[in-house]
């Protein structure tokens, strides 16, 4: 089931596309692209937890991030920990005590907004798997150029990007679940970026809803 976000695309937001059920073995999987970045995410869960991972009052969440080439490094551990922390708060893990939820993320293509792309892919994969969630989460990346301009589209020339800011919002209250930044910026720029990303997150949630409707999942 292919879904495009053409109808709400404006010139300064990345195009979103997704395909549900790309993998047959996992409980939920999605092939997701945000602009030129592509991520494949899959969810297994709740499944039996290994002995040392069992938590008696909730499910344990494990995230595995695989880079495009080579073995996962220290940088990927940081991404795993961010995605895992977000899933722990968004998925109703107290409903599944003594089990494990496995989140697998495979990087397919990186054009800047890799982290927000991975988080959105995991959000869609969770919805595809039908696991109970407290809310839906959506991530937006925003790029600050050297001349102080903010944009949701990464510049083709990496040298002109001064900072990248990623925000993750929930769809119920619009609260901030996570914030991740790279590069230097002022507080004023941070505030503007936050407001811009919050506005943009509505498009992400709209896209998630239309894709689920189109895939007959709602």
């Amino acid at each position: 089931m292919d879904v495009h976000s053409k109808e709400f695309i404006s010139s300064n937001t990345p195009e979103l596309k997704c395909e549900f059920g790309a993998l047959s073995r996992s409980d939920g999987s999605v092939l997701f692209s945000e602009g030129e970045s592509v991520i494949m995410a899959s969810i297994y869960g709740p499944v039996e937890a290994t002995f040392n991972k069992i938590v008696i009052d909730k499910a344990s969440v494990d995230c595995y991030y695989r880079p495009k080439a080579g073995v996962p490094g220290v940088q990927d551990r940081l991404r795993e920990s961010v995605i895992r922390n977000i899933c722990e708060i968004a998925v109703a893990i107290s409903l599944y005590p003594r089990t494990a939820v496995l989140v697998n993320v495979q990087e397919m293509q990186n054009r800047g907004q890799l982290i927000s792309c991975a988080i959105n892919a995991v959000s869609l994969a969770c919805l595809d798997s039908g696991i109970d969630m407290k809310f839906v989460f959506g991530a937006v990346s925003c790029f600050l150029s050297n001349n102080g301009e903010l944009s949701c589209i990464p510049s083709i020339n990496e040298d002109t990007v001064k900072a990248m800011l990623v925000f993750v919002f929930n769809n119920t209250t619009g609260g901030i679940i996570a914030s991740h930044t790279e590069g230097c910026f002022s507080i004023e720029q941070y505030k503007i970026a936050l407001e811009m990303c919050r506005k943009e997150s509505r498009n992400v949630f709209k896209f998630i809803k239309t894709s689920l409707l189109a895939a007959d999942k709602l």
């Binding site: 220290v74 551990r77 940081l78 708060i89 996570a178 914030s179 790279e182 230097c184």
Partner: protein
């Protein structure tokens, strides 16, 4: 009595204190623990420092080696941070290869160095494509009592300020290096990023500089790294959902903290320079 209560109902124990706007160690929500910095503690290293934030203790040593720059960036040297969380500092850690927490923190420290541009890697290059300095910044946690990243960054920055490198005479034609150990020079530290960790307790109370118990019971954390007038990282890895005002409140609190830490490092480094 209070001790038993604390071990049986830790969450309620903390909540009862917080209901009276005070923390079990006598601090208010926005108070910090005392910070101690000692510079030049390891004489065999090219630069070193110990930082104590409350009971959290981190020692940092920099060892310099000569190496060849990478072909992708032939005019850059290296600065490689590595954090070791040994079983010594907490029962949480086992010996062996670095665990997840150590790897995540190492990456955060590396990100702070890169984002703040506190060290210009091009200045560590001695001759393009031939010779450059590789600085290994090894951080070892001796006592783990919360806000580890804050202590790591203080130790690292104080340590980098104290690093001296020997003068190198290099003849590219003959590939001969001569090291003059007597003539040592400080490296240029262009900015001083400083981290401030806040724990979120019960989704609303913001605890500055949390202890390890407060971190374990809290529902999330935010780390803000301030670099002079700019921000160099706002890291909130999931956890409790914050409103925009709360997040900006965290940033405001961190700015005051960064200023006092900066003065502290400056005076510690100046005192060490006068002595040495």
């Amino acid at each position: 009595m209070a001790e038993e209560y604390k071990s049986l109902h830790p969450l309620k124990y903390y909540r009862d204190y917080f209901a009276h706007d005070i923390r079990p160690d006598g601090r208010e929500f926005a108070d910090y623990r005392p910070v101690i910095v000692n510079v030049g503690s390891i004489s065999t290293a090219d630069g070193s420092a110990i930082a104590k934030v409350g009971k959290t203790t981190v020692i940092c040593g920099v060892k310099a080696e000569l190496c060849r720059p990478r072909p992708e960036c032939p005019n850059k040297g290296f600065l490689v941070p590595n954090l070791e969380l040994s079983p010594l500092c907490s029962s949480k850690f086992k010996s062996g290869p670095p665990g997840e927490e150590a790897q995540v923190l190492t990456q955060l420290i590396a990100d702070v160095i890169e984002n703040s541009r506190c060290i210009n890697l091009e200045e560590l290059c001695l001759l393009k494509d031939k010779l450059a300095w590789c600085l290994y910044a090894d951080l070892v946690c001796l006592d783990y009592d919360g806000s580890l990243l804050d202590a790591c960054i203080v130790a690292l920055m104080a340590c980098l300020r104290s690093v001296t490198l020997p003068h190198i005479d290099y003849d590219p034609a003959l590939d001969v290096k001569q090291t003059n150990l007597q003539e040592r020079r400080h490296i240029a530290v262009h900015s001083m990023p400083l981290a401030c960790t806040l724990a979120i307790f019960d989704d609303k109370i913001l605890l500055t500089d949390p202890t390890v118990e407060e971190e374990n019971l809290s529902s999330g954390s935010v780390t803000v790294v301030i670099n002079g007038d700019e921000l160099c990282s706002v890291h909130k890895p999931g956890g409790s959902i914050l409103s925009e005002d709360q997040l900006l409140d965290c940033i405001g609190k961190s700015q005051a903290r960064a200023k006092s830490l900066q003065e502290l490092i400056n005076s510690a480094v100046n005192a060490a320079n006068k002595m040495g």
